[in-house]
């Protein structure tokens, strides 16, 4: 698929994502919209995994550390055929397997996440297993920027460099907002690139909504002997004008009016594409 085709697909995915959140009556709208393009690129261009190969030992692994944005992951996995789109209607419903954070009950999901600061240590273990087995797979995780205040990330950052895990990629959904407000006011992570460099990681910084930049950063060969962090600069609420960069949409659920308005905006974009 071309960049343009993926961008058009992303409009449809955003509409479905909002539908899932409205149907669930809960969800993480802003962060879902900020990481959706990253997931779109991962599952359509980068990850060597499909519904057919999900149990292969040599599949690429993806662990969503920012588990609260599971609705975006569900939307993309469903689009890739891991499960029927109709399943999305049950998200967060009584007795549904589709919980409000990732679980291994769902085809395509590797680990149960949701408590922050867990994905990177898990991925260190997965990448170490790959090295031990001389397996070709790569291991990817998606972190939030507010999540970086969890100290376990930095324990793992040390280990990633120590073990020279060049089969490991951490993607940072750097949308600069968390539930309380701007991350730089809650607990600053600056200077971000320098921090990861100081920890011994290869650092690539991209526009997290630019398909060419994301694709290059995630597919170009990693620096030998170094884990890679891709700092993806994103916009929380991306794609819906009244949600962009507004903290309340962290886990705001659109009213029917807001939903209609968001769909109208996205339909217009789709029509113009």
């Amino acid at each position: 698929m071309t960049d343009r085709e993926l961008e058009i697909k992303a409009i449809g995915l955003r509409k479905r994502l909002l539908g899932v959140i409205v149907g669930a009556g809960a969800g993480h709208t802003g962060g879902g919209l900020s990481c959706l393009d990253i997931l779109n690129v991962l599952y359509n261009r980068v990850l060597k995994v499909s519904p057919e190969t999900f149990t292969d030992l040599h599949r690429d692994r993806y662990v969503q550390s920012k588990g609260h944005c599971v609705e975006a992951l569900y939307t993309v996995l469903s689009d890739r055929g891991f499960f029927p789109p109709s399943d999305l209607e049950t998200v967060c419903h009584y007795q549904s397997h589709y919980v409000g954070h990732p679980t291994r009950h769902i085809p395509g999901i590797e680990m149960n996440t949701g408590a922050l600061g867990h994905g990177l240590p898990i991925c260190i273990g997965m990448a170490l297993a790959g090295k031990m087995d001389r397996a070709p797979y790569r291991v990817f995780t998606l972190l939030g920027d507010g999540e970086l205040a969890e100290g376990s990330n930095w324990e793992a950052a040390l280990a990633g460099a120590h073990y020279q895990l060049d089969n490991l990629v951490a993607i940072l959904d750097h949308n600069r907002l968390q539930i309380t407000g701007p991350t730089k006011e809650v607990m600053s992570t600056a200077p971000l690139a320098e921090k990861w460099q100081a920890f011994g990681w290869d650092v690539r910084e991209v526009d997290g909504h630019d398909y060419t930049e994301l694709t290059e950063a995630l597919t170009n060969a990693p620096a030998a002997g170094k884990p890679l962090v891709v700092i993806a600069n994103t916009v929380k609420g991306k794609g819906v004008s009244f949600m962009e960069n507004v903290p309340k949409w962290h886990h705001g659920v659109p009213s029917s009016e807001e939903y209609e308005q968001a769909l109208a905006e996205l339909n217009q974009l789709e029509g113009a594409a």
């Binding site: 149960n112 996440t113 408590a115 240590p121 898990i122 991925c123 260190i124 297993a129 376990s152």
Partner: protein, 333 residues
């Protein structure tokens, strides 16, 4: 003048041990690491993860023999559990080894989510647990671990009472499809007599009797056995069970003990809350079995300073203490 080294057993207890023909074994941790090395030599997927704990975990020989199968994470217990889970999720039979006090407190969330909830075949080994670290104090004691792990779904909890139970527990763990926690202390263990071989989830019968039942676990079982032997001299016949599997608990053995015996004493190197004793009480109450009952463990207070032997004696985890508890309880029976 230096203080005399505390001993775990009084001369009377030692004499009784000798008369019972009990033989001195080794610290369980040594047997753990030896067993793990044997398993790992046969299976390259057996890996061990340490947090600057290979020395205290007796894993130096393992590291020397199989450097590719040991992962050092430094002093970072949260990372230790996350990494162990990640290894286990990718086909490794991963053993995460760290002092019980840190492993089950600092990284409890990782145990809960990355191991139990994600249901990976990882085994966590709590070393130097209970009050093994003695006078180092409460930072280094794990008297909460059984309580917190019992409250997690999807983890088997084992506390071996001797070298045999240790060896068997580790063998079981190496092929277990789901999470396990195995708890070790530091002391050299006495080999316990048992009628049947180790079976996960089934209490080991160490001694038969129908007056008092001692339901004990880990390093306390020997004290229960000695108390039982001493009580026999007074015409009191005691049953001693090694409750090596704390979860799933052998409810059948507990209820059988309640049916057969006049009183029940539980013994554990753990706070009196949330551990073996309360687990047994719950089984009994649900079954409507009311018997004179005592939980012997560490009191809910700032633990007294001392070596493990001092602390055991202080809280009545000794032949003498348990004999006294049993006698007092039988008066009510």
């Amino acid at each position: 003048m230096s203080a005399p080294a505390p001993t775990m057993f009084t001369p009377e207890a030692k004499a009784l041990m000798e008369s019972l023909g009990l033989t001195q074994g080794r610290p369980n941790l040594e047997v753990f690491s030896e067993t793990l090395l044997e398993l790992a030599q046969d299976d390259p997927n057996v890996v061990v993860v340490t947090s600057d704990s290979r020395g205290s975990g007796k894993l130096v020989p393992f590291g020397n023999a199989l450097p590719q199968q040991i992962v050092e994470v430094g002093i970072a217990e949260q990372n230790l559990v996350g990494i162990t889970a990640g290894l286990a999720a990718c086909g490794k039979k991963a053993f995460g080894v760290s002092p019980g006090c840190f492993l089950t407190a600092r990284s409890l969330e990782q145990i809960k989510n990355d191991v139990c909830y994600s249901d990976v075949p990882a085994t966590l080994i709590g070393i130097s647990s209970g009050v093994s670290y003695g006078a180092l104090g409460s930072t280094h004691h794990s008297l909460h671990d059984l309580a917190v792990l019992r409250a997690l779904n999807n983890i088997t909890i084992i506390v071996p009472a001797d070298n045999t139970e240790t060896r068997e527990a580790i063998r079981v763990a190496s092929t277990a499809p789901s999470p396990m926690f195995v708890r070790f202390g530091k002391a050299a263990m006495v080999d316990l007599p048992r009628e049947k071989s180790f079976e996960l989830g089934k209490a080991s019968v160490i001694r038969e009797g129908t007056d008092v039942a001692f339901l004990a676990t880990g390093e306390t079982v020997i004290h229960a056995l000695l108390a039982a032997a001493q009580l026999e001299g007074e015409g009191i016949f005691s049953r001693v069970l090694s409750m090596h599997t704390i979860k799933p608990l052998d409810a059948e053995a507990i209820l059988r003990a309640a049916r057969d015996c006049r009183a029940i004493v539980t013994v554990e190197e753990h706070l009196v809350h949330g551990g073996l004793g309360e687990a047994c009480a719950s089984v009994l109450m649900h079954a409507g079995m009311a018997k004179p009952f005592r939980i012997v463990g560490i009191a809910d207070e700032e633990t007294v300073t001392g070596a493990q032997a001092d602390i055991f004696r202080h809280y009545g985890i000794s032949m003498e203490g348990l004999t006294e508890t049993a006698r007092a309880l039988l008066v009510q029976a």
